[in-house]
Symmetry: D2
Subunit: 380 residues, 4 copies
């Protein structure tokens, strides 16, 4: 639906948004894993999607699958467990499997989904090692299905706006990036604190946002990494996985990115970018909602701080609809498997740098956005 503008020309522009696809034309997703992220964020986000719908559920708990399926109006034939999962190959209503299980289980599900000729949207971190990540990419390549890693920040509109401003030269040459993502974990029994299931502690879960953000914003790959790790002795939460990591990335253009992550500090997410001509600060940068983007620069000789108006949408819906768009239009996702693999390579370098106390040097990363698919268009 388009409407004639009724507001004066001095008011914010009201761009017509593309209407939603009719339910029957939307891309069908199977949600594999019905944990907290699926239940509280991903499944509700489909209500805000324009191209995507939930077509099936995969869960180890029949009760959970039945309850969620009922609330979504799904028939029992749309409910799978991990044993019956491979039969999804025969379910034409499912085009994409969205894998939202504990990290260590991603690999098996992704490979099985690929075998079933389903495209895959996989939560981050895509695996628990770069070796596994490579296998997953190869499996999807062999099967001719798309693999996208769910780096939601790259689809979130404040981040896209910041990237656009950086690429447009608004800040001049970028010099420094600082990214902080910390939260305080509780229950010691959760899988995130088990090395076998999570692959690591704060780094792969939330520090990954800092790492990926620095790469996303620069479009480059780091050539030097230094790092320090600290875990509180005797804290049972950190018996297997690390508590806090501070790591520094040097990019070929000279940007130094300082990243801080911790499982022991009150939830807080900050992003700073320092360029020649201005700075940007994003509050709640990696949160599910509530981002705010502030830009400092000089106007008529005086410092001005701008709080940028950015359309507020559901970042999960934007990410899911991007995957649907890739399926519908046959394009490569912006954040394909290679994007996830590269983060595993770098996390392994971070652990090495921390362990050895030695800066790790890496080869040049290639062209701008070398690990990414084609750029997203105008937000819409």
């Amino acid at each position: 639906m388009k409407f004639d503008p009724i507001a004066a020309a001095t008011e914010p522009a009201q761009k017509p948004k593309p209407g939603p696809l009719p339910p029957a034309e939307r891309v069908g997703f199977a949600i594999a894993g019905l944990g907290r992220l699926a239940g509280e964020e991903v499944i509700p986000a489909f209500g805000e999607c324009r191209r995507s719908r939930i077509a099936a559920l995969v869960s180890g708990s029949p009760e959970k699958a039945a309850a969620v399926g009922k609330s979504l109006g799904l028939g029992t034939s749309a409910l799978y467990d991990y044993e019956s999962f491979d039969r999804i190959a025969d379910d034409p209503s499912v085009q994409v499997v969205y894998v939202i299980t504990p990290n260590a289980l991603h690999k098996d599900l992704v490979i099985r989904a690929a075998r079933a000729k389903k495209h895959v949207l996989c939560e981050k971190p895509m695996a628990t090692s770069s070796a596994d990540a490579r296998e997953m990419i190869e499996a999807c390549d062999r099967a001719g299905v798309k693999l996208m890693i769910a780096y939601r920040s790259q689809y979130q509109k404040h981040h896209r706006r910041l990237l656009g401003d950086m690429r447009s030269g608004r800040f001049g040459t970028i010099k420094m990036i600082e990214a902080v993502n910390v939260q305080a974990q509780g229950d010691v029994r959760q899988w995130r604190l088990r090395k076998a299931l999570a692959g690591g502690g704060s780094l792969p879960d939330i520090g990954l946002y800092c790492l990926n953000e620095a790469r996303f914003l620069t479009g480059e790959e780091p050539v030097e990494i230094s790092a320090q790790i600290y875990s509180t002795p005797g804290d049972p939460r950190f018996a297997e996985v690390e508590e806090s990591v501070a790591f520094t990335l040097r990019f070929p253009s000279g940007v130094l990115a300082s990243c801080s992550t911790s499982y022991g500090a009150h939830k807080s997410q900050h992003l700073l970018v320092n360029g020649e001509r201005g700075w940007a600060r994003m509050d709640k940068a990696f949160a599910y909602r509530g981002q705010a983007l502030h830009i400092g620069s000089v106007e008529n000789g005086a410092e001005v701080v701008e709080t940028v108006g950015v359309e507020v949408t559901n970042q999960f819906a934007d990410e899911i609809d991007h995957m649907a768009q890739c399926v519908l239009e046959g394009r490569v996702p912006r954040t394909p498997g290679q994007e996830g693999l590269q983060d595993h390579v770098l996390m392994e370098a971070i652990y090495e740098a921390a362990r050895t106390g030695q800066t790790v040097k890496l080869g040049p990363g290639g062209a701008l956005d070398a690990t990414r698919g084609p750029p997203l268009g105008e937000p819409g």
Copy 2:
């Protein structure tokens, strides 16, 4: 779905939310009027509802109805025009008609919906006069159907939090309220600038938010009203309806509420509350999204300003689901027809005060929240 808490006790509480009702158990709404508000806000909001679904559309434009209906997966039998509308009586999938037409058309549709034994959710202002508002209430009463006026702010969570803080005594006795709601209208042909269709200019459209807010927050009815109106001579937008209104309400408890509305100023919405012990400021108070609530008070002898954490939800979805809850549970809406009628009585007093240059005195308004249904429970 409930999940065990995984965050430390020092992190924000994660309250389990009630799951959505299965589609078939949700309350069915007919959307009457497919203009901008319906297309850009109300219809998308159903994607975030937990108890409500769209069951039918009513529009004077068959093309629009067909296009929207298709995107929603509705069959053609769910599409009505204003001639066929009365046949909705026979449509068991529709329990509520949500009237979103130009103001002057509300009355007819509400009365016809009531005759069809459908509950009604009617956009504000509910009518173009208090006389019409009374007829609408009577028609719904006679038909035994619920009538709710769509005062979305009363369901918006920042407003509910502010109300809760005020009622709890956090600010001490309230002394002053200031509410501003202005925007710059463009196209002179739009119905909002036609007196016959809109009933008035900025006052009934957006000034109404200020008026209703002052009543909502105090729970009282004003006993004295003064007002001034200004319209720019020669501005074609204001040939029939007023541009700007400043009005002041005195409430029995002594609160003085200063309200400002205009169709000629850049979009801006501010709310201030001044109490003995503290103040509150809500930014973007009456906007569709983006509210922020700041509270100033003294802590350990020093002024502190708190930005309050409030769950961000879609206020239209909250309002619509409240109507559904009223239908499902047989309760009276928080904002029934009487709430809308009282605003019409007061807007008529505001116009009179401005015309005569004389403060208008009104009788006492009765008990706290006299025009409202039972209070909303905990947000959920």
Copy 3:
């Protein structure tokens, strides 16, 4: 002292500031009245003045005068009481008397200072009636001395910046102004709550800032005034003077200014300006320090809120140095007696409007800034 710029051209401009005058060349002020405002704000502000120095003190308390004089290094010949005050005529070190006594005492001191051929800087409100204000102006005119009223906001740099932006057309035509200045008075014995000494309650003390601001920003004089007053029955603080006043001013250009003041609400000061193309909000607008100026407008189709960088200086020092500049350069103060008189005329209209419940109409106010002296130059 001027310094070569060392920062890059993209950094805020570092304008050389004019150096301070040597102590002996500065304009000498006698401080008449050693109450809280003098002790906590005015006297310390001289440490930040560039053209002004304290040359004498006038107080009814010899102890206070002696203590303050000692801390300032003044000799006993520089200390006056209200009996000996007229001898100041013979004190060549004093060129200006800054009158900071209770309101009702301004008149006598101003007239005596004028007789002593001293220029006068008089705190606001300049008197307790327009009749007294007129007498004071005439006395100064007859004596050939300058009379400036201490409207500090007109010298404060955020207000000057806002005025400049409004006059430059940044906001388009101004439509609405909202100004709030409230605070909670304590001790019932203070002179501010005695009608004979203060002339009124919240209105002449703090509501005056709202009134003066609306006039300052528009440069116009109101032609219609409506008002409501409320005082809590039985509250001993408000036995003689009013607690709360809400008043609305209509200016010839159509601007409606809504002003709210109270002696019963927690300290809070807000200023909003609504123009066609944008809005401005000043936090802590009338406070001694801490102003912040935010401007909302559309940039590339999206709403942007700018927090404006404004040099932070002491507004009392800026005001005092303006008076010194007027003396040194023989110019008329920006806020002469006429500026104060007009506020008294308008406050009398506000009281009348509230008492009668009738909008008070006033004659046209003449040219832009009719009651003011020449504009201030660039801040410096």
Copy 4:
């Protein structure tokens, strides 16, 4: 002067401030070096001091000394150049020499001031090497004079409030600190870009604030340091000194502090502290003015961000008056020479870590605040 409270008890407390000392009783300072910092910040700050006065000037430029001296009302006997400087020993009006020259010149002046039996307040960095810093400390010790390093942030009230909140346990155990201090240098001829005069680039000038802050806030000394340095090849500003440094400090308690400094990025200063129970963010942390302190934590289960009310004073005045207090009361400065020396030791480790790519390990730092004098009392 003390005044009876006139505001209600719910308003911010108005603590009586100690009155200023009479000019003749104040501690006399000689300002050595009349560059930009002296001219624009330090000398004006004396107008806000309560215990300090300027008694003499030292400059290599007779014109500058004469002009500044005149504006301050100093006689020509109070003006020194670097040859005549030693005669200050005979000037009883001078008790403290405040050294504000290029870094490499600090050592000579401090030692000569000590020989003249004058106490010394020395700008940071105190020297260009730890060896020089040690000599300066020894010279002052031998002479029996006090040596204070001008770490203004440790005297600034937002920093003091943050420290107090951290020490009181408000944030629980501290986990991470992030500090950013960057600015864009211009003129390539300035002494800050000459290694011989400055000792280094961004690190000793502005990165030092980050380093000192992390030590100040934790009260600990780092045991591991990693670092990376980058200078844009071919940029003439960075022919001798470094452009950007990112360094990470691990403290014995486990705090990881990530610090970022650059001479190539637009001016920006940010400080973040992450504790178990909450976070703090200080905007404009290291600026001359404009600090704002925000604290995030959970209240009743919801995240709340508090903007803390802190008295705004001139941090240079607070720092200078502390030195005066030390002289008057015979106490050790809070930031004595040892505090400056330790930063030189650590900067040398930062350079080494960057050069070798190897984390530098340091011995344990001893007791809390081991390098500092007794804590400051209540701000006043």
